[in-house]
């Protein structure tokens, strides 16, 4: 009980600091934030349930008014803006990512990459694109065009999530809740 709670709280903080740290050069030339990497790691390391709860805790504090979303955003404005689909998609993405890592018992690095890609890229972008199409009054293909520039970065982040998860499986096998 205590361990679940502290892991949820500290991974919520991890999502926050990955959004606050601006200088991490994920791959030269691609300006991407590490925040969605934090969402993916919640799923791959903590598993579906605890990963989604960590993301929900992070959103709870952000929407209440701490500017923890990348770019210093926060408050109710993020729910009224065009990125609302991504905000709603964050906990769902973590849940899907975690479920895949939990149920697909191949090499943890591989299933973490595939899980992070399906959860953090496919599912997240579907919800994000629906959100943009509603908020900007555009059709779905038009909104999808807006999300396209980020596809490369998201694929890279899924690969990083896979590698980080594999490294953690080696360093702290007992802490990897998604494979407990």
């Amino acid at each position: 009980m205590e361990k679940n709670l502290t892991q949820i709280a500290l991974f919520a903080a991890l999502i926050a600091i990955l959004g606050l740290v601006p200088k991490v050069d994920l791959m030269s030339g691609v300006p991407i934030t590490a925040q969605s990497l934090g969402i993916m790691l919640c799923g791959t390391v903590l598993g579906a349930r605890n990963g989604a709860l960590a993301v929900l805790l992070f959103l709870f504090v952000t929407i209440a008014g701490l500017p923890l979303l990348s770019g210093g955003r926060g408050g109710f404005g993020v729910l009224a803006g065009p990125s609302v689909g991504y905000i709603i998609g964050f906990p769902i993405a973590a849940f899907v990512t975690g479920s895949i890592v939990e149920f697909w018992r191949v090499n943890v690095g591989v299933s973490a990459f595939v899980g992070a890609f399906i959860g953090g890229f496919v599912v997240l972008n579907i919800l994000g694109i629906i959100g943009m199409s509603v908020m900007l009054d555009k059709t779905l293909p038009e909104a999808a065009l807006l999300a396209l520039p980020f596809a490369v970065g998201d694929t890279i982040k899924a690969a990083i999530a896979g590698m980080v998860t594999q490294a953690i499986a080696r360093a702290r096998p007992e802490a990897l809740l998604s494979r407990a």
């Binding site: 205590e2 502290t6 500290l10 991890l14 994920l26 790691l41 109710f76």
Partner: protein, 199 residues
């Protein structure tokens, strides 16, 4: 850490958080029901007047917080110029800016502690489904407390990187940061258990 709440007290700071939130919800629903450009402009003017009534620097802070919307407004403008439908684009853009401004107005005039209290009382009915309010409050406090701790740790990892490598800090630093979060979680869990645990 700085919150988004405005430090200069305005008349709106005194209003109950729940009431502000309810009005905001109704206003946002209305915004999305409106299609007439003139009615939309009136709503925008109303929000602008409210912001200005809270003072000049307050209104400027609010405008600065809208910069995340700039790319979307630019894309909308280009798109609708190309469609030769400038009025339609203007209405959608105005709705976007008005909805976000109104929401930011509520956030800027409500202290974080008031908002968290309101959220917790809104979540209280979920206790029947197993979401206990006490562990939630503890997780909330732990998370906020650990943000500066983990930022410090990230700073140390970055310094270590710079001391050893000429290259710019890369994604590899995420791995020790995540590991540190896991270890901290284990230590805090032990400390909680030693003090009687979470009921």
């Amino acid at each position: 850490m700085l919150t988004l709440t405005s430090p200069t007290r305005t008349f709106a700071h005194g209003l109950p958080a729940g009431a502000k939130l309810a009005v905001l919800a109704l206003f946002t629903v209305a915004l999305f029901a409106i299609t007439a450009p003139l009615a939309m402009a009136l709503c925008a003017a109303l929000v602008a007047c409210l912001a200005l009534s809270c003072g000049r620097s307050f209104a400027l802070t609010l405008v600065r917080s809208l910069r995340a919307l700039v790319p979307f407004v630019v894309v909308l403008a280009l798109w609708h110029l190309w469609l030769a439908d400038p009025l339609g684009g203007l209405t959608i853009g105005l709705r976007l800016v008005t909805a976000v401004s109104a929401a930011t107005l509520v956030t800027m005039t409500t202290p974080l502690s008031d908002m968290l209290t309101l959220f917790q009382s809104l979540l209280a009915p979920l206790a029947r489904l197993g979401l206990q309010p006490k562990p939630l409050a503890l997780a909330l406090a732990l998370m906020i407390r650990f943000i500066p701790v983990m930022l410090d740790r990230f700073g140390q990892l970055s310094q270590g990187w710079r001391a050893r490598s000429a290259r710019r800090i890369g994604w590899q630093v995420v791995m020790p940061a995540t590991l540190a979060a896991l270890d901290d979680a284990a230590h805090v869990a032990e400390a909680l258990r030693a003090r009687g645990g979470v009921a």
